[in-house]
């Protein structure tokens, strides 16, 4: 056993040391697999970034309350009496002013052009109050100031301000019933809200001639208080409303797009992987063919078939792993942190997010690379071990 391990090591070392003399053909495997892994990791990092942006929104001890049956904030309607029921429900924490810390909010869409473009995009206008910073302590004004209650002023999320035109302080943006003035920019740890613009809820109600909220977001006394709070609301005969923990709601809003990009990413990776596999097979067959005499010689002087097979597979694996690492590194260099904005069909609004090349994606890439390398080396190695020694030695 020890001797065949030694054989494996020595043959593999010999193979790998000889790679530089076959650089061109060896590069085929490396570059081919780097291409596959690069595309796969880049696409999956898009899905991952989108998922993380939505999943990082909200906290376990906050709940979002919508009309029973509605899927998202935009399609929910809560009249003031329903909102009052929520405020009075057990489990809602008190704010610094001693009142229940829950805000009835408006969720509307307004058309804003992307930077350097003219066509309209669905940007979220959230009608809220100055207490929003107590309700969502992760958000804070980083430039300018908060809007004045009752005045047609706007604070823009950092991502919205970067992606869309005319959201810098001093700019005018069409919200409802004419232009509103941007007076500040807020950040919210890169979550979904940063893609929104916030305005005063009463000013927006007046301008849009609406009397009802879309949702209520409530701070609970603790994350554990959620069940009691939810039960109290769902059993209240006066209202048909539903409560969800914030992270659950926002995570659920990424499902469709996430699934679409993931399916695309894996489909492309699998199909490209098959293409690269053919390339790897070609290379390894050629590698084995050009070394048929060496291999036959090794076998003639007593090296077993096992070590020969394993050494060829190992060579293929090393090349593939190198390709996987290069592909992952290229995806990281070019795409990690790259910000895009797209229409999330599940909320009918624009969400800005960053591509995130995470360690688990890089790991997936290397695994995928090694699988291709393993199969790419397997068949040629078997052929190498099968050719009769005499024929191989004669063939030169």
């Amino acid at each position: 056993m020890a001797s065949s391990l030694q054989q494996v090591i020595s043959v593999t070392a010999m193979n790998i040391r000889s790679i530089p003399s076959r650089l061109g053909t060896s590069l085929v495997i490396v570059v081919g697999i780097a291409g596959v892994v690069g595309v796969m990791v880049a696409l999956l990092s898009m899905a991952k970034g989108f998922e993380l942006t939505l999943a990082s929104t909200g906290r376990d001890d906050r709940a979002i309350i919508m009309r029973g049956g509605s899927n998202d904030e935009l399609s929910s309607v809560l009249v003031r009496e329903q909102a009052q029921v929520v405020l009075d429900a057990p489990g809602v924490a008190k704010g610094s002013d001693g009142k229940p810390l829950a805000i009835g909010e408006l969720f509307m869409i307004t058309d804003v052009a992307k930077r350097g473009a003219t066509s309209p995009n669905n940007v979220v206008v959230r009608g809220t109050t100055a207490r929003v910073f107590e309700l969502r302590p992760e958000a804070k004004i980083v430039e300018g100031r908060m809007f004045t209650p009752g005045v047609r002023e706007v604070v823009a999320g950092r991502s919205a301000q970067r992606q869309f035109a005319g959201l810098n302080i001093g700019d005018k943006v069409d919200v409802r019933d004419g232009p509103w003035t941007v007076v500040g920019v807020f950040e919210s740890k890169g979550d979904v809200h940063e893609s929104e613009i916030w305005v005063d809820v009463d000013a927006l109600m007046t301008a849009s001639r609406r009397g009802a909220y879309n949702t209520v977001t409530a701070q609970l006394t603790s994350a554990d208080a959620f069940q009691g709070f939810k039960d109290a609301l769902t059993s209240d005969p006066r209202v048909t409303i539903q409560a969800q923990r914030e992270p659950e709601y926002y995570a659920s809003r990424s499902e469709t797009l996430n699934k679409m990009i993931t399916v695309l990413g894996y489909s492309v990776a699998i199909i490209m992987g098959i293409g690269a596999l053919f390339g790897a097979l070609n290379t390894m067959y050629a590698a084995v063919a050009t070394r048929s005499v060496e291999i036959a010689t090794l076998r003639a002087i007593g090296f077993g078939n096992g070590p020969v097979v394993i050494s060829v597979i190992l060579e293929s694996l090393v090349l593939a792993a190198a390709g996987g690492i290069i592909g992952g590194a290229v995806a990281y260099l070019f795409f990690n942190g790259y910000t895009v904005s797209t229409l999330n069909m599940q909320t009918f609004s624009q969400v800005a997010f960053q591509f995130r090349v995470t360690p688990d994606l890089l790991w997936k890439g290397v695994i995928w690379a090694c699988s291709i390398g393993l199969i790419g080396g397997l068949f040629p190695s078997i052929r190498a071990a099968r050719v009769p020694i005499v024929d191989a030695l004669r063939s030169s």
């Binding site: 570059v31 049956g69 001639r209 492309v268 490209m272 293409g275 690269a276 390339g279 070609n282 624009q350």
Partner: protein, 386 residues
């Protein structure tokens, strides 16, 4: 053409290698075909939609509601032949994941201005006479196994019923298809009647989400759009009107640059492929140096040798490209049935031309270096090298 057997024989020289190389090229063109079909499907809807139809939405967003009175005012404008109020129902069938669009429309006006939607006259009349009636696209009926006469319960995502109920039950009175199968993806939807919808909903009565108008002369569309918006300017409900084509195009733009993503992927695919095949071609020529030298000795001219090696690359790439496209054609129908909204996935003629163009380019890039090398061979050296 008389050199074809020679080229063919060169490809058959090492069959496993030729087959493996051909397969990796075919795989690249399989991806090319599939991704292009997706790209075409995304753009097709916008390109094909009517230039004789205008869409009027709220000035600030499609999500605003407009008073129903707007319909009468638009209809009275000279040059407008009909107007259909429309609303987004936004419900779902059984599960939120079963997403497909449902529109509440003014039935006669709407079907009158969308000749691309076809259904039996009898079913059309049934829709006109059944207030709770609904029409669905054939692709949807197939997916959910619906047939005419079924009652379809829809969960309301936005609009509860007057009594507060959340389940609307529609009578399926007809199943429509599109005049051109390519349009299927664009019209994969359910239609219900706006009059019934408006009367039965809990709030929003007397409004519509947007208006679609048909204009007599497409050339007047731009002027009419302005006229409509001017009609409502400075009113509490200002509008934004565009041709349906421009409206759909700007909506597609909201998704981001799908074309760019797809061409980036394909760029990476072909760059990878270039490496795989280029190397094999070089190797194949290197192995045949003595044979090429023999050909030269026999009197084959340098340009002919160049042409032979290039022809070999071209033949292999073209056959593989066609194989890849054929595979894509076979895979697409089953893929399309899995992707809601993309039922019209097909390989179009421009895609095929594009593929052939890429194949020729590819074969030149990978074939030229070895072909030049073969052309410049010095007979004596080449023969001695062995």
């Amino acid at each position: 053409m008389k050199y074809f057997p020679l080229i063919w024989a060169a490809l058959g020289r090492r069959k496993p290698r030729t087959i493996l190389t051909g397969l990796s090229i075919a795989i690249a063109f399989l991806l090319y075909g599939m991704l292009n079909a997706v790209n075409v499907a995304f753009n097709y809807g916008a390109e094909m939609s009517g230039v004789d139809r205008l869409v009027t939405t709220g000035r600030y967003s499609i999500t605003q509601i407009l008073p129903y009175g707007h319909a009468h005012q638009i209809r009275s404008l000279p040059g407008v032949t009909s107007v259909a109020a429309s609303d987004w129902f936004g419900g779902y069938y059984q599960d939120q994941r079963n997403f497909f669009p449902q529109f509440a429309v003014e039935q006669e006006e709407y079907l009158g201005m969308y000749p691309e939607i076809v259904l039996p006259e009898q079913e059309k009349q049934a829709f006109f006479t059944t207030r709770t009636g609904a029409l669905v696209a054939k692709t949807l009926a197939d997916r959910y196994h619906w047939k005419v006469g079924d009652k379809i319960p829809m969960q309301a995502g936005i609009w509860p019923l007057k009594g507060g109920g959340n389940v609307w039950t529609f009578d399926l009175v007809g199943i429509f298809d599109t005049a051109n199968p390519k349009d299927r993806g664009q019209y994969e939807m359910m239609l219900i009647r706006h009059d019934y919808f408006d009367e039965a909903r809990q709030f929003g009565t007397g409004t519509a989400g947007w208006y679609v108008s048909k204009v007599k002369h497409p050339s007047e569309a731009g002027t009419l759009a302005k006229l409509i918006d001017n009609t409502f300017a400075n009113s509490p409900n200002e509008t934004r009107t565009d041709t349906e084509k421009a409206f759909n195009q700007s909506f597609m733009k909201q998704l981001g640059d799908i074309g760019l993503i797809i061409s980036s992927i394909l760029g990476a695919v072909f760059f990878t492929l270039l490496f795989l095949t280029g190397n094999t071609m070089m190797q194949s020529v290197r192995e045949r140096i003595p044979e090429l030298a023999v050909l030269k000795t026999l009197g084959y001219t340098d340009p002919l040798i160049l042409a032979l090696v290039l022809g070999e690359a071209l033949l292999l790439t073209l056959i593989s490209a066609l194989l890849g496209l054929a595979m894509a054609t076979m895979v697409l129908p089953s893929l399309a049935s899995q992707l809601p909204g993309l039922s019209g996935l097909t390989i179009t003629l421009p895609t095929i031309y594009g593929a052939l163009g890429v194949a020729v380019l590819l074969s030149f890039i990978v074939g030229l270096p070895p072909a030049l090398r073969a052309m410049r061979l010095n007979i004596v050296d080449a023969l001695m090298g062995h």
